[in-house]
């Protein structure tokens, strides 16, 4: 039953991914800037033959459908093409180099958001309209309404420039990167027992992580709060109380488990938004990850790189939603996989 459910969901992903890749490819194709002109712009005098040769090398002289097919069939084997702007490096290797940075930031923001949202949502639901609930609700609404790029700048001014508590850009202090194992500086530092590197990595993650986490923390907190309020009024919760179970068991075990079911969906959706948030936040904090790579690649008309990054974002997004569905089915015995 589980296998069939997984299989069906995976098959459903295929048309979605083909659609996404087609839209991306089409958009990139319609953009007026010719990448070869971009590349040769700095090269000085070039002959028409050299231009044609380069266009042929990148397959730009083929018809649109052929180019798209080449892109798809290569992508399926992990070959994402050759970057126009990074001295002809393969796109896959550029992305591989940046991916750990974004993964680390996203994971950090994800954990931070849940760490803020889960306790706040539960506590707020215990006394709706109480002091804690009111403060948390207002904070959540502000969290949703804050433009991330501005919050980043304000935090940089306060904690970086005024108080000098935290660095305002980059991933780790110069020359402090730990030996590479996973590529995630924080985890590598932990594994190698490198205390100063761990400290530096966390200091660099804190501000961008917080800005990235703010809207997610707000949305998750609100969802959990409202579903907890609903669940706490249910008969079976009253019954658990009447049985004389301690309140912590009633709230933590009976109520929370059911309140988490709708929350999982919001968590997945918001994690997807963390991915787009990356682009802005990494640009603000000059954080060397995929988001900044995408923004830079668009500026340089580097089609293969943009296509590949968008595709990676879309795949992660779709897989996240699949993951959420699986967790939901696992949590909720009334929903059967099928």
């Amino acid at each position: 039953m589980w296998l069939r459910f997984l299989w069906r969901r995976l098959v459903q992903l295929i048309p979605v991914l083909i659609g996404v890749s087609f839209i991306v490819f089409l958009t990139m194709h319609l953009t007026p800037g010719d990448p070869v002109e971009h590349m040769l712009g700095q090269a000085g005098r070039v002959t028409q033959e050299q231009v044609e040769e380069l266009r042929a090398y990148y397959g730009l002289d083929r018809p649109f459908a052929v180019q798209y097919w080449m892109f798809l069939s290569h992508a399926a084997t992990g070959n994402l093409g050759i970057s126009y702007s990074h001295h002809g490096r393969p796109v896959a290797s550029i992305i591989g180099g940046r991916f750990p940075a974004t993964l680390e930031l996203t994971l950090f923001a994800f954990l931070l958001a849940l760490l803020l949202a889960l306790p706040a949502g539960v506590i707020a639901s215990l006394r709706p309209q109480g002091t804690f609930d009111r403060i948390a609700t207002v904070k959540a609404l502000i969290g949703i309404s804050l433009p991330g790029f501005w919050l980043g700048i304000v935090l940089m001014i306060v904690f970086g420039l005024r108080l000098h508590w935290l660095p305002i850009s980059g991933r780790i202090a110069l020359g402090m990167a730990p030996d590479q194992i996973t590529g995630l500086h924080g985890i590598d530092a932990l594994l190698t027992g490198n205390g100063p590197a761990l400290r530096s990595a966390l200091q660099h993650l804190l501000l961008p992580g917080l800005v990235l986490a703010a809207p997610m923390a707000a949305m998750v907190m609100r969802m959990l709060r409202s579903s907890m309020i609903g669940v706490l009024q249910q008969d079976y919760v009253q019954f658990a109380r009447a049985k004389g179970l301690p309140e912590t068991t009633v709230v933590g075990k009976h109520a929370l488990r059911n309140a988490l079911i709708p929350t999982v969906n919001i968590v997945a959706l918001q994690t997807g938004l963390l991915l787009s948030g990356n682009m802005i936040i990494e640009t603000v904090f000059q954080y060397p990850g995929l988001g900044k790579l995408a923004v830079d690649a668009i500026g340089a008309a580097d089609y293969p790189l943009v296509q590949a990054v968008v595709l990676i974002y879309a795949v992660s997004y779709v897989l996240l939603n699949l993951g959420a569905d699986i967790v939901q089915v696992a949590l909720d015995p009334t929903v059967r996989p099928g």
């Binding site: 979605v16 319609l30 991330g148 700048i153 420039l161 603000v284």
Partner: protein, 299 residues
């Protein structure tokens, strides 16, 4: 059957009609305060030439990076200070309201019309149209919106028409989903079956019977979308690929101030505060509307 019953009851309650919504809303103090702030921004945008103390693009070479009036070195003439070109921040913020509100309204209207039309057709007729539209929605939902907007804007350069399209690209999906769901359940509702039995034409049923009942949720979605669009527009302008630089826009102003945060904190800070205040008010008002429409929907 249960679904149909629930929807009929929803339609029957007083708050699910626009006047009923307003009555409940008027008792929500936070939402009313938010409405006042929004009205203030609207007045500011409409009367910008009369309210702004200076021309927003005029450079004052004698007053570059002047701090706000209450800080040491500030001047009465430039209440919120000036930027690195000596332009008055207050005047630029007042004018900046225009492009934020205009783009927000334009994008929301466009996505509302497209999403509602498609949602009604897909919900009412079902079949291949519904299948195609719903697949398209799946694809769009899997799409990181911002990167697509970035790609379009990078290709066309900062210009308002492309900006509206880039922002509208995915926004209609929210309207589509709400409307399709509501129409789908209305299709079997007693009042629609009755209208059909009386010989009403399909356009009559769609526009005169069903549409009025999906107006309240559409208003709620439109308000909450507005908040998202304002932030998205400001984000693109911040990256330098949104509103053209000749038009004062809040996102552009924050970006202008980014290089100066060490020497002149106010340049990036105040325009961002304007965004926060407007978006917060729109969100508060939208949630008030949603609570008034149906308290069960509230988060």
């Amino acid at each position: 059957m249960l679904q149909v019953l629930a929807d009929d009851q929803l339609v029957a309650t007083s708050s699910a009609t626009p006047p009923g919504m307003l009555r409940v809303l008027s008792r929500n103090r936070m939402a009313m305060a938010a409405a006042l702030v929004i009205a203030g921004f609207l007045v500011m945008a409409a009367l910008a030439p009369a309210l702004a103390p200076h021309d927003p693009n005029q450079q004052h070479p004698e007053a570059i990076r002047l701090p706000p009036a209450w800080e040491r070195g500030g001047a009465e003439a430039f209440l919120l200070g000036t930027d690195s070109l000596g332009r008055d921040l207050l005047s630029r913020i007042i004018y900046g309201a225009r492009v934020s509100i205009m783009l927000g309204v334009a994008v929301v209207l466009l996505t509302l019309v497209v999403g509602t039309a498609l949602g009604m057709l897909a919900g009412y007729f079902g079949g291949p149209l519904d299948a195609v539209a719903s697949r398209l929605v799946d694809v769009l939902l899997a799409f990181p919106f911002l990167i697509f907007a970035l790609a379009i804007m990078a290709a066309t350069g900062p210009n308002l028409g492309a900006l509206v399209l880039a922002l509208a690209f995915k926004g209609w999906v929210d309207f589509y989903r709400v409307v399709r769901g509501d129409v789908l359940s209305a299709r079997g509702a007693a009042y629609v079956i009755a209208a059909r039995g009386l010989g009403a034409s399909t356009p009559h049923i769609l526009f005169r019977e069903i549409l009025p009942n999906v107006v309240p949720p559409i208003i709620v979605v439109a308000t909450l979308r507005m908040a998202t669009i304002i932030i998205a527009e400001a984000s693109l302008s911040f990256l330098g690929i949104g509103v053209p630089p000749s038009i004062p826009a809040w996102g552009t102003m924050v970006s202008d101030g980014r290089a100066d945060i060490a020497a002149a904190w106010w340049i990036a800070t105040f325009p961002g505060l304007a965004i926060l205040l407007l978006v917060l008010s729109v969100n508060l008002f939208g949630e008030g509307l949603r609570d008034a429409l149906d308290p069960r929907m509230s988060l």
